[in-house]
């Protein structure tokens, strides 16, 4: 059961950070007036966070509510890293997307994107608040860095969050595939042994569901409209899905294993699963659940296509990977090992990933038409 607390009083550290945040907004060109009456509340769902550590070597002990209760410095460092990475993605996505507001296909899409950007900023605030409030000088330093790195300069921590989002098809792919990875990360942190982190996740996950819905529904509306051919859409799916899979990290990850041992980050289905975790393959297990979810979602999206259009599908998890056991290897989108030279493979990639020519056609031809099913903004 959810009993959300909204924090009313901020520490001086966090108040100072808020000043930096205003400067960051100016720097990236996000006009605060776009927020309307939206407030960046700090929200904690303490009930859902639970009182006892749920897994790992400290299982059964009370969850840690303050820094000094965390038994080892390396665990504190691991928690700070988790929070920093999460916060980094929140601000990065706003940097990547905010230029799209000027070219929104409908008022509904513009308002949806704006809501997403507001909520991503709130999530960033939440992470900065936890850093500034619970982790002293070290936390304040890390919170500052959240506003110093920049997606457009390629200095954000994770690769996907430095990738350009040039148009609205990329935006819908990003919210469908990359924000879905975000949902997995948030859910894995929702059972954390550090209670303020676990309690932050419930309200963030509630908001995240809208972001994913915007992506899934946006892609479905594009497919339904039938202006952009499915063959071209498939190329964008091929591009984004491998990126999403990479976000789950390396195979046989020892840092994931340590995070589990510390109780800091659980499995995606930690509370639902009745089998013991395979601690050596935690990233693989989460990635597999994500991959299955993508396939289910794509069936729903593809079912809206016009007659004669080819089925849209999720490419193999071996294709175009940058991280994990298939990183740098040559595989086709259907998962067969590519037989041919490196040059042949480059030619193959051009046929299955968006090229500059595809980008031009997309933006200068298809997107000049009514390329997405119209939906009215209801003004609520």
């Amino acid at each position: 059961m959810s009993g959300t607390e909204i924090v009313e009083d901020y520490s001086p550290n966090f108040e100072a950070w808020i000043n930096d945040f205003s400067e960051w907004q100016t720097r990236i060109g996000f006009d605060p007036s776009w927020l309307g009456d939206y407030r960046f509340d700090i929200k904690f769902d303490w009930d859902t966070a639970g009182n006892k550590i749920e897994f790992g070597d400290f299982e059964g002990m009370p969850k840690w509510e303050r820094r000094m209760q965390i038994p080892q410095q390396n665990i504190r460092d691991a928690i700070i890293t988790m929070i920093s990475v999460q916060g980094d993605t929140e601000f990065a996505s706003v940097e990547q997307q905010n230029h799209l507001l000027d070219t929104a296909p409908t008022e509904y899409d513009k308002k949806s994107a704006l809501r997403i950007m507001c909520e991503e900023q709130r999530h960033g605030w939440q992470m900065a608040y936890v850093l500034c409030t619970y982790f002293g000088e070290q936390g304040v330093r890390e919170a500052s860095k959240l506003l110093e790195r920049n997606a457009l300069e390629g200095t954000r921590i994770l690769g996907s969050f430095n990738a350009p989002i040039d148009h609205w098809l990329d935006f819908f792919c990003f919210t469908h595939f990359i924000d879905r990875d975000g949902k997995y990360q948030l859910k894995m942190l929702s059972t954390s042994s550090f209670k303020p982190l676990a309690a932050s996740m419930g309200p963030m996950l509630k908001e995240e569901s809208f972001h994913l819905g915007t992506g899934a529904n946006g892609l479905r509306r594009i497919v339904k409209q039938g202006v952009i051919p499915c063959e071209l859409l498939q190329k964008y799916l091929n591009k984004w899905i491998s990126t999403g899979l990479d976000l789950f990290g390396t195979d046989d990850s020892t840092s994931a294993q340590w995070a589990y041992v510390y109780g800091v980050k659980g499995r995606y289905d930690e509370r639902e699963s009745d089998i013991d975790a395979d601690r050596e393959h935690l990233n693989e297990a989460s990635r597999e659940l994500y991959f299955q979810e993508l396939r289910d979602e794509m069936r729903r999206i593809s079912s809206a296509r016009k007659e004669g259009e080819p089925d849209l599908f999720i490419p193999s998890d071996k294709f175009n990977r940058g991280i994990g056991m298939y990183a740098g290897l040559k595989y086709t989108i259907t998962g067969e090992e590519f037989e041919g030279s490196d040059d042949d493979y480059e030619t193959y990639l051009i046929s299955v990933l968006p090229t500059q020519e595809d980008e031009n056609k997309l933006m200068n031809d298809y997107m000049k038409q009514d390329w997405i099913q119209y939906r009215e903004w209801k003004g609520n």
Partner: protein, 187 residues
């Protein structure tokens, strides 16, 4: 009455409902009777400027008989659909008797024009009663009863855990209303 209902709200009583909310929603919304494909179409097709055909489409989806309204009554309702702002329901108080005569119909118009107001449904009301939120039965559009119904669903949205929130393109008021309807029917 609205305040009494919400002050008496017992969060613990909602646990079985929240634990199975997505199943309840699927049972109701994705049933043949609810025709989910047509529902989705209406989310797109009902748009400004509202015309009689749009109201007819909503009536069809709701399995309601043809509106027995004078043109003036239809105009009055359409104007109100433009003017009303969620979660206000007091505007209904200014309606003529005919326009207020069917809460089921009126709430559906409000739902599809705003995507926020919840469709009035007897099973949903029973679902709320099972959660300890006592909304009295009615067939006419009473602004206070309907206001309490809308506020109660809004409250449930606020207190529900994140596991209740599906990622699909269904307004959250529909998600909760449909789940409540299935919950209300359950023995």
């Amino acid at each position: 009455m609205q305040h009494v209902s919400l002050l008496a709200f017992n969060k613990e009583k909602c646990k079985p409902f929240f634990d199975n909310l997505t199943n309840f929603f699927n049972d109701h919304h994705h049933s043949e009777k609810q025709n989910p494909d047509e529902y989705e179409k209406l989310l797109y097709m009902v748009k400004r400027p509202y015309d009689d055909n749009m109201l007819d489409m909503v009536d069809n989806w709701m399995n309601l008989s043809k509106r027995d309204w004078k043109g003036e009554t239809t105009r009055e309702v359409k104007l109100a659909l433009y003017a009303i702002r969620y979660p206000d329901t007091l505007l209904i108080d200014s309606f003529t008797q005919k326009a207020r005569s069917d809460i089921h119909r009126l709430s559906a118009y409000l739902h599809f024009t705003h995507h926020t107001y919840a469709i009035w449904d007897e099973d949903t009301r029973k679902g709320l009663v099972k959660l300890g939120i006592n909304i009295p039965p009615t067939t006419v559009a009473d602004p206070f009863i309907y206001g309490a119904y809308v506020s109660a669903i809004e409250l449930l949205k606020d207190v529900a855990p994140f596991t209740c929130f599906l990622e699909h393109d269904i307004p959250r008021q529909r998600l909760f209303q449909a789940a409540l309807a299935a919950y209300g029917r359950q023995e």
